[in-house]
Amino acid sequence: MEAKEVDKAHVAVDDFDPKIVAFCCNYCAYAAADLAGSMRLSYPPNVKVIRLPCSGKVEITYLLRALEDGADGVMVAGCLEGDCHFMEGNYRAKRKVRHAKRLLEEIGFESGRVEMFNLSSAMAGRFAEIMEEMTERIRKLGPSPLRKG
């Protein structure tokens, strides 16, 4: 795994800058992020991208740990359904994200802070859009209740 800070040049308009951790599949979302960079597409800062060999590699503990460590939102981005490099990794990721949401609901935590997205490596524009979407959603939810801790 390798984390990289994404484009700090953009400054948030709002007071609240959601911290988002994005677990990205090497074959799609991560490549799309790169492409978005080369194309100079703008998307919100403060998104930490973590590269996974496949979205199926994500573990529920990764998602929970990211939240515990202060992330306001956590997302998993995998290939389009049917296009997984490892056949069905993205379906597994989908089930894990769904289960993580259930686990969070059990303890009364907003499960909307966790989400799964699908895109291909060519979809740089969609990548930027997803980041906007997620940032907007988290901004509405406000800072994570775990942040102050």
């Binding site: 503990t61 939240l67 515990e68 969070l104 059990e106 303890i107 009364g108 935590f109 775990l146």
Partner: protein, 215 residues
Amino acid sequence: MDEILEMLARYERILLLGCGTCVTVCLAGGEREVGILAGQLRIHARQEGKSAQVDEHTIERQCEKEWVEEIKDRVEGVDVVMSMACGVGVQLVAEMYPEKPVFPALNTTFMGYPAQHGIWFENCRGCGNCVLHLSGGVCPITRCAKSLLNGPCGGSQNGECEIDKEIECAWQVIYDRLKKTGRLEWMNNYQPPRDWSTAGSGGPRRSVKIEEVLD
């Protein structure tokens, strides 16, 4: 989860203790599940504005004293131990650390094998009086909803059990297997009532292998 939160409500320092054997392979109480539950507990506590220390630790086997002994220091440092082992592990930990509350994180359900990844079937009740050599390798005590010994009841249809279409009629399977191997005789003969004293009706069970007992 509500049950677990209620059990732990009064405690601040928690040791979440996983077991590396059976509950690990059945994805219920190994290192991974310890990590998930610990995350849930910490997030919940912090949301409520409480301080909670949740230690995570998984030992090889909670059903053997040697392994349980090794965690003495960890146990001493907490208010409560939440065991993610089966009921056997929970009880051994409780027995070895009687001054510490030890709670079960799991509802231990049954002994079975995975039919496919993520789906398990019960197939042994540990009744102490095995008939698998006669019944084509299918346990009628466990896998027949009525634990019948003399063939299928009138609710067996299309190989399905009357209580649930997802459950095979054990006696249909037994019949097919015995027929295939020319051993239907057992099923055609009257089988007398069983001695259930070995199945738990004789009180708590104890097993002694005298040659293994150390003085």
